[in-house]
Each structure stands twice: as C-alpha cells, then as structure tokens.
C-alpha cells in the first residue's frame, strides 16, 4: 500500500500527538484512510475532534478494537493485514498483524496454508512412523538372532550374512524350527526391499506381520537359551 502525500503524513503526525491515541494504521480503500486506536472510549475521543482534510478517519478504542479482532471482523483484519502500521505505542497492532501473517486468524489464506501444511506434515508423520516400525522390527530380529548366535559362540557381524548364518547354524543343526526361518526371512526381505527402495510403501499389514514374527522369534529364542542354560 503506497500513500505518498506529504500532507497525509503530516496529518498522521498531528493525530499521533493527541493524548490517548495509541495506534494508527494507514490504509487505502477509495481514498487514504486511517484507523485510530485510542486508550479511551471512542465516543469520548470523537469529542476531542480529531479531524483530517486528507484522511478518512475511523476511531476505535483499544477495547472495541480487540473485541472486533476476537469476533474475527474480516474488514478490520484486512485493514491490519494490508495497511501500514505507522504508530503503535503499545505494540498491539503489530501483534495482531503478525497473528494474521503467521496464519493464526481464520479466513485468511495464510491460515489455510498453515493448516494445509500441518495436515501434510501429519500424513508424513504416519508414513515415517510406519517406516520406523519396520526398522524397529528388523533391529529386534537382528538382536534376537545376534543373541542366539552369540550364545552358540558365533556373532552376526554383517547383516547380509545373517540369512546364511540362520540357515547354516540354526536350521541345519535343528536348533530352531524351519517356520522361524520363514518368519525371519519375511522381516529380513521386507526391510532389505525397503532399504534398497524396492518397497516404497510400508503397509499396516507389513507392520503387523513384522512385529508379530519378531515377537514370536524372540519368544522362541528366549525359550531355547533358557532351556540350554537350564533356567526356569
């Protein structure tokens, strides 16, 4: 908004010097206008006879102004959004202006954009959660396998060798049932496909299965170790 007249600014300076005037917003509709915020009730201020030959004047007391902000008076808020705050001794105008700009006032594009972005963020959070859930199930599985291998005197140091180790040491030696190898393989493949970008979307079923199988593997390995250590 551009109001270039020097006379307008002189008028604004004069208005700001009135006792009780705490804020001025210069705006332009059909003609240059000023919104005056006063400490006192507007009626009393009007009696003071604030006049201008170059500006259309609207006077609101601070209480009236805030009440209209609370009512989300679109006209008033639009003045604040598009207008130029030329005087703001209490800082209230700047606060409300920044609320609009930051998208906290309903009915403004900024607000809708804020909400829109928040919605997209939440969808992303769900996506990230599902990915993390798979990572957790995989880590748990590798820990379970690591525990069993360590118990048998081996160590899983390279995840890509885990599948081979599982088969060589656990299935062929009859330490664990073949059905657990299938469960392990399911989690391992699911994670590796996700890691390599072959699987783009993790579904709820993937998570349910991965967590279920990881827990079953944990229970089985825990049982095997306890049995061998003779811990009841």
């Amino acid at each position: 908004m551009v109001v270039k007249s020097e006379l307008v600014y002189k008028d604004l300076e004069r208005i700001a010097s009135y006792e009780g005037v705490i804020g001025l917003v210069l705006y332009k509709q059909k003609q240059p206008s000023v919104l005056i915020i006063t400490e006192q009730l507007a009626g009393q201020e009007r009696k003071l006879g604030i006049q201008s030959q170059h500006l259309l004047i609207t006077i609101l007391s601070l209480e009236e102004f805030l009440a209209r902000v609370m009512d989300r008076d679109k006209d008033l808020l639009n003045i604040l959004k598009a207008g130029l705050i030329v005087y703001d001794i209490k800082g209230v105008l700047k606060s409300v202006h920044s609320l609009i700009k930051q998208g906290f006032m309903p009915g403004f594009n900024e607000t809708e954009l804020n909400i829109y972005n928040e919605i997209l963020q939440r969808f992303q959070e769900v996506k990230r959660f599902k990915e993390q859930a798979l990572i957790n199930a995989y880590s748990a599985t590798m820990d379970v396998l690591g525990a069993l291998m360590y118990f048998l005197g081996e160590t899983v140091v390279i995840p890509k060798k885990a599948e081979q180790l599982f088969k060589k040491h656990l299935i062929t030696q009859g330490i664990i049932g073949a059905e657990y190898y299938k469960k392990f393989k399911y989690i391992y493949k699911l994670f590796k496909n996700f890691e390599k970008g072959k699987k783009k979307v993790i579904t709820g079923v993937d998570i349910d299965n991965a967590l279920k199988y990881a827990l079953e593997l944990h229970e089985q390995v825990d049982q095997i170790i306890r049995k061998k250590l003779d811990i009841t």
Binding site: P106, I119, R122, F123, V126, Q132, A147, F151, L211
Partner: protein, 249 residues
Amino acid sequence: MQFPIFEDFKQLKDLEFVIGVLFFGSTIYEGKTPKDSDLDCLIILSDDFSQSQEKLLLNVLESIKKSLASKQVKLHLQPPMTLNVFIRRVITLEPWIVSSLSHGFIYKDSSGVLKALKNIVANKKTRLKTEHIDLLLTRAYDNIVKTRKSLLNMITLLTDLYLLITRLIASRDGFIIPDPESAIKYLKNLPEFESFKQEFEDLSLINKKFEAGTLGEFKGVELDEWLARCENYFLTVQKTILKVEKSWL
C-alpha cells in the same frame, strides 16, 4: 591387516588427542578392497579434548575424506567419542560397539585400552556372555513393545488429522475449531460431510478409550483403514474448496 588406503589416515596418528582409531564393517570383516564400499571408522578422543582441537580434527578429517573420495572410497565416520564414553559403552555392552571392537581393526591405540578391551570381549567370559545375550534379548523385546505402544499413539495423530481437515473448511467460514467436539458439532451443520462427521465421532470414541487406557490394541491394518478415510476426507475438503473458489471466479 594393511590396506593402502590406511596411508590416508596417517595424519590421525600424529594427533595426540586422538587416542584410538578403529575400522570396522563389512569392508574390514570381509577383508575386501573398500572400492565402491563404505569404510566404517570410529575415532576415540582423549577425555580432555578441547574445542580448539576440534577445528584441527575437522580439518584433518576433511582432508582424509577428500583423499578417499578421489579413490572412490566413502568414509562412514561414526560420531567421535571420548575415551571414557567409549569405555562406558563397552562396559554396558552396547552391541555395535562390542561387535566393532571384536571384529574390527585397531589402527591406533595410544593408551592400549582398545586392545585390552578387545581381549576381554574376545575371551567371552561367561558373565559377559550372559549379560550380552540378556542385553540383546531385552533390547529386542523393548523395541517390539515400544513400537506396539507407538501404534496406539497413532490414534491421537489420526484424530488430530480429522481436526485439522475440519479446521480447513471451518477457517473459510471464519470459525475457530479448538477441539474434536467442536469439530463434530460444526460438521453437523454441513450435510455434505455427514459421513465424515460419523467417522470423526467413531474415531473420537476410540481416542477416548485410548486416553482412558481401556483400549488394548491398535493394529497396523486399522491404522491403514483410518488413514485411507482421512485421505478421502482431505481430498473431499480440497475438492469442495476448489469448487467454491471456482464459483467465485
């Protein structure tokens, strides 16, 4: 073990505050040339490592990285840790630290601590072994349980999504929607959103059960179902907004 690329790390040997350098990972374990592969490295610093030394270390690491990059080797550097942190993490049997120490290659060990710890870990003393197994099993179990609990938290996130989507329409009318109850109330005035209002009510009930601690489980498959409903609601709201905007034009 000697790789030609270890030459690039020579500068680290000259830095007094670098107590230890450990190489680990598949490149080391399999003894292959780390071309097109990552070289994992952990740097252990003296306990009185200062900020002024940090700059020097970063410069040296930068020059090593550059030199390795010219040989197509990617350095995968773990965040450096001080000696006391390293010892603490070995004592608490942090799996990757123990594994790296057991199977990795100690390039520098000015205090002799790394070699000593490696021997202790390698001897697999019974108590250490049982503790390690316990640690792995407990961590695995906690991970599964924690993830299942986090699934329950998704109900709050879904409720939040329904609330935000409702706020998007309400904002058009200048309404502020503070909570799910107000959102459902607001939707009652919009017949075209009747089905979404119903869904929101159902989800709010589930959320209330979750908050009261009476909801036992929330499965991944349920998460997907609710997510699909949410996406449909969001899409419908966007279409409605677009329709209104077009009518203005």
